[in-house]
């Protein structure tokens, strides 16, 4: 077993107005050699004058990285000849850097790590030399720009961690306002060193890698380098201590042309600058420069506002977005809706218009007003989206817009009742049918009122008013195959069928509320093991439409037992935040009790009855009812038990996640982060088919051939749900009978592996060397989620994004 050690040297250009030792403008993109003067050009006789602001920023960064701040830091000359270095020495720090012994905490795939900061020192940047044909051209605009170097200890293990650290670091310096963190433009740069050795052997021979101008290249280059060094060691060779360049076109590192002699920088203290001594006033300025950091802010957002990790992550990414969000909350907006609007519609609009949140006409006041109008029901969701767009177009407040456009909803019960009265009067037959127990005409009546109000009636209120006027509560029962609606054939086998007639079966059921009106909708006749993406698309679009049109006060889904755990979790990821109850139920046997007999009611009838009751009175969101029990929609497991002569099935839930049906304790639903309109059946079907064609569930077993997974990947599988042993173990030995080859092939080809447990364990890769190897190879732990729940989450995640990293982020946000 090998160990790898990675250390980073990060350079950031400090965003000062002027250069570090002269008054020249520190700016990019200007005409070459336009921001220069005798000092930064190294003319004879000139002297450096230290930029106090650069020093302040440098100390702020060091302080933020938990460094010990030097009360006295010293500049030194680092001597080397290069044409882009005007003085042929660089003023830098060596023996007495401004900060030492700090740390930064990172987390990759649930593994936390404290990375020690060796030192932080300030220096001047060099110019740029460009080779053009047989000429060498020099631009000294950059020469003398303040450059802060942060050196970590070799505490990182895999390239992904380096990538995480860099992304976190970039966000930190942007928050501090000391650098824009742009790696492509070079205002943030990174060199990495990496060594590999046998476990327990300490650091190996160090190789430095340069030319890494994005955090993605850092990850790729490091992982390439780790495997290159492993290969060398495995063949009995020795890794040459050298500097290599990352070739981003070929995805390989190549040895840098080595100069004949090693560099001897001949450091000595810079006699032109006195040592920098920190005084109380300076340290006070440094303290003032500290801000709440992204990580702390993320935690606070989660705790204080009850946001999900992903929501918090999105909000804190840019300081301006986070501040916009908090400003909006301070104006009384609901954190949840503010967060989800910012992450979806606002973001989309800003992207489309190429604007940033701080420069756009949408200010927190207007945004809070929009949310308030929505919250008060004066507009509904669809109109709100239009209003938002209109804010950008007409630079007006949402209230003014809905007034001018006549978009305001009718939320006054008295006003709405007038419309309802008129519709009921005009449709006496429909009213009569409802009174007689038929639920169908309710939807028709609702539609008529909507038509009469030109769609301005607030749907929820309308539903409530009509229900109370007619004294009915409408529950839609969607029949979605399975034995619950099946029939027992003459040969004794159970086959698909239609759901029994509810009104007949429930006649005389005194447990049901009198105003209940049930409507049965047949969505399919199949056994639940036969479900295909098209079936789920029908189910999703039918539910979505009912929620949108407020046709029902609750929905019951009658389902088979075999795949209930899939459908329940799928619906939860989609509709977990729905404002009406959506209750799934099932039965392992059909309703074969004889009608009208005195025999106890069948399991099918009993379960649907319980589900209807739950839908009529229960909490909004997705739930599962089976037998006398209520279950959370996640982590369900169907099990067969022998009960005397009869064969019966029971459900239970795995892990704590399902033992508690309180939705507040479940991972948050991930829709509507998705980009698909759920009422559009065709679109949902296409999206599901695409997503599912890229997914595969694999269960680890002894002697499993990892290369078979490569075949799957070659056939388009991009995401695996890997059901491993215990807390996440599997063989990663160097044999064909392990996952190693598959994981490595996957890592090189952008394939993700989401890991669950065969043994009701929480997967965290914590306990075994095999687990750690899996983590090293990039496998992603799914924590408490079961295979089924992880799989459906994966499908819904893909509706939100086709980007592999984004899908990974959604999957990890539990």
């Amino acid at each position: 077993m090998y160990q790898s050690f990675i250390g980073l040297e990060i350079h950031i250009q400090l965003a000062t107005q002027t250069k570090i030792f002269c008054g020249c403008k520190a700016a990019f993109g200007d005409e070459p050699n336009s921001n220069i003067c005798p000092v930064c050009m190294g003319y004879p006789g000139v002297l450096p004058v230290l930029n106090q602001e650069a020093m302040r920023m440098a100390y702020v960064v060091a302080r933020t990285l938990n460094c010990t701040l030097s009360p006295r830091s010293v500049f030194e000359r680092k001597n080397y000849f290069y044409p882009d270095l005007p003085k042929n020495y660089q003023i830098s720090q060596y023996e007495h850097p401004l900060g030492r012994d700090g740390f930064v905490d990172i987390e990759f795939h649930k593994k936390k790590r404290r990375v020690r900061i060796h030192e932080v020192h300030l220096e001047e940047d060099a110019g740029k030399m460009i080779h053009a044909g047989d000429m060498s051209l020099l631009d000294y605009n950059r020469a003398g720009t303040p450059l802060l170097e942060i050196v970590t200890e070799p505490d990182l293990e895999v390239g992904e961690e380096a990538e995480v650290l860099l992304q976190q670091f970039r966000r930190m310096v942007r928050y501090l306002g000391v650098c824009d963190g742009n790696m492509e433009e070079g205002s943030m740069r990174c060199d990495a060193n990496v060594s590999v050795n046998l476990s327990g052997g300490g650091l190996g021979n160090k190789v430095e890698i340069k030319n890494l101008n994005s955090s993605r290249f850092v990850r790729k280059a490091l992982n390439f380098e780790i495997s290159r060094q492993k290969d060398i060691l495995e063949r009995g060779g020795t890794v040459v201590q050298e500097t290599r360049l990352w070739n981003e076109n070929r995805d390989v590192s190549e040895p840098m042309r080595t100069k004949e002699s090693a560099h001897d920088y001949r450091y000595f203290p810079e006699p032109d600058l006195p040592p920098f001594i920190t005084d109380d006033a300076f340290l006070l300025e440094v303290e003032k420069g500290l801000v709440e950091l992204p990580a702390a802010r993320r935690t606070r957002f989660i705790d204080e506002y009850g946001l999900s990790e992903l929501q918090a992550e999105f909000l804190i990414d840019e300081r301006s977005t986070a501040e916009f969000f908090e400003h909006t909350i301070a104006l009384g907006a609901d954190p949840q809706s503010a967060a989800s609007w910012l992450a979806s519609d606002v973001k989309k609009l800003l992207n489309r218009r190429g604007e940033s949140i701080e420069s756009s006409v949408l200010n927190p006041e207007r945004f809070a007003e929009l949310l308030r109008l929505l919250d008060e029901g004066r507009i509904h969701g669809k109109i709100a989206k239009q209003v938002l767009e209109e804010v950008f177009v007409s630079d007006a407040s949402p209230a003014a817009i809905i007034k001018a456009k006549g978009w305001e909803q009718i939320t006054d019960p008295a006003e709405l009742s007038e419309y309802i009265d008129a519709v009921l009067k005009a449709n006496p037959n429909a009213v009569e049918q409802v009174r007689a127990g038929d639920a169908k005409p309710v939807g028709f009546l609702v539609g008529q009122v909507m038509k009469a109000t030109s769609g301005r009636a607030e749907p929820q209120l309308l539903q409530e008013l009509i229900s109370s006027r007619l004294a009915v509560k409408v529950i839609h029962v969607l029949s979605f195959g399975g034995a619950i609606s099946g029939v027992r054939r003459e040969d004794g086998l159970i086959g698909p069928g239609e759901l029994f007639d509810l009104r007949t079966e429930f006649a005389g059921d005194t447990g049901l509320p009198a105003e209940l009106r049930l409507e049965e909708i047949q969505l399919g006749a199949f056994l639940s093991e036969e479900i295909a993406p098209a079936d789920w698309a029908v189910l999703i679009s039918e539910i979505a439409r009912r929620i949108e049109d407020s046709e029902a006060a609750g929905i019951v889904v009658a389902h088979g037992t075999d795949t209930l755990s899939y459908t329940a979790s799928l619906l939860y990821w989609f509709f977990g935040k729905a404002r009406i109850p959506i209750v799934l139920t099932a039965s392992s046997v059909p309703n074969d009790s004889e009608r009208g007999s005195a025999k106890p009611r069948s399991e099918a009838v009993a379960n649907i009855s319980a589900a209807v009751k739950r839908a009529a009175s229960g909490a909004p969101g997705v739930g599962v009812v089976y037998g006398a029990q209520e279950f959370a929609p996640l982590n369900l497991k169907f099990e067969r038990v022998e009960e005397g002569a009869a064969r019966a099935g029971v459900f239970r839930t795995w892990n704590e996640i399902g033992g508690d049906s309180n939705p507040a304790h479940l991972p948050a639903p991930i829709y509507p982060a998705a980009g698909v309109e759920p009422t559009d059946r065709k679109a949902v079907q296409t999206a599901l088919e695409n997503a599912m064609s890229r997914c595969f569930i694999v269960k680890a077993f002894p002697g499993m051939r990892g290369d078979h997974l490569i075949t799957l990947m070659k056939n388009g599988v991009r995401y695996f749900v890997l059901e491993l042993y215990d807390t996440g173990t599997a063989s990663v030995r160097e044999t064909p009978y392990s996952l190693r080859a598959a994981l490595q092939y996957g890592a090189a080809n952008g394939v993700s592996f989401f890991c669950t447990s065969q043994q009701e364990a929480m997967v965290d890769f914590a306990d075994y060397v095999t687990s750690h190897e899996l983590w090293r190879e990039g496998a992603i732990p799914m924590g408490r989620l079961t295979t089924e729940s992880a799989f459906t989450r994966l499908i819904v995640a893909q509706l939100g994004s086709e980007d592999e990293l984004e899908v990974q982020r959604i999957m990890e946000d539990q």
Partner: protein
Amino acid sequence: MLTFWKNVLENSPDAYEKAVRARDARIGSFLEFNPTRHLGNAPGEVASAEKHAVLAGLPFGVKDNIAVDGFRLSCGSRILENFNSPYHATAVQRLIDAGAVPVGKTNLDEFGMGSSTDNSALGSTTNPWNEDYVVGGSSGGSAAAVAAGLVPFALGSDTGGSVRQPASFCGVYGLKPTYGTVSRFGLVAYASSLDVIGAISTDLDVLQAVYEVISGADPFDQTSMDPVPSASHDADAAGVASLGYRGKSPCLGVLKPEQLELSAEVAETYQTCLEGFRSLGYEVKEVSLSMLEYVAPVYYTIATAEASANLARYNGVRYGLRPDYAENPEELVRLSRDQGFGAEVKLRILLGTYVLRSGFQDQYYLRAQKIRTAIRTDFEASFGEVDMILTPTFPRQAFRHGGEDMSPFEQKQADKFTASANLAGIPALSFPAGVPKGLPVGMQLLAPAFGEPRLLAAARDYATLYKPELAPGYERPAGEQ
């Protein structure tokens, strides 16, 4: 004489220029001379001009390693032969503000490296007292110009004695101020922790005014500072002997001459001088500067180390000499430096690179820094007992051109009296003390940091005993009828 100098540029610049050119054809003190280029520059700070009215209108020479806008800044080197300065050094700017007029750039040992001015790549300067003899260095052009009556004062730079030693060779006053009191902005660096701009003159009033004008903190040099006033300075300025010092006689530290390896003429003059001070009422007390023998090696270790970095910027890329053709940037740099630097400069760059090599720093550079601290401590201890220390400026008089009298190695060893002041950062003044066998001898007074007024006062006292002679043939200023 001062009246003549104050009016010469206004009254007869052409005659002056002609006279200077005629005299300097023999001496070779100026590399560039143009008395009218900065004439008519309005004095900047009126306050400064009034306070130092003595300087108003005076022409002055500037060593060619100090920047004067509109003049070249060659440093006596091929590599900067055609480099024109785009700015004024702070010291020059302050003198201009006080009404003085820079008239030309004086010759020097290349980048200030030498004790004869014979290490200049751009001209040869000779001693006004005897043309067979060197003028001293590295500020030889400035000393010669003053001694030959071409200007009433000139700026020089002093890294290890480069103002004081040529002043001594030419029979004029040379002041090296406390390190940091004069801004180095515009002084081309040789050894940054030792370099200081100093002044050369035949007139102590002028010298004092120049010092007062050019000293003081400068935002463009973070190592610069205002002289720290001390209670004794008023007494210093008023003259030591006349007033007494701290209520008692001023006390002069002297060294045992037999340990100093002096020439007979210098040894004799030293003896005469200390007796002279005694006769003026000074108490004379023997001190032992035990670190003196380490001064030259320590000085050359630190100076060359810093020089190796300071001179790295001359690579032909942005300015200065560059070859007509080079295969690549590396070759361009190599050829520029090979063709641009003289032998002494190359020697010192190599020495400096050597002492800074990693693995050798403990042995050379860091050890030198420790001894430097010891030297400073040594002086501090001495100044606890005496007010000033009197030493010869140089162990012998001017030597002849060509290194027959004194090899380059001997010249370096002979820097110990002067270089000690640079290592300790303290002020020192070389004053004329006699002209045995037709060549001047200078003596050096050393004082604690910011003790310039004390040095000038003592020199004034001594001038009552010995009035400095001017070189034969140069008794009158150039152009005076």
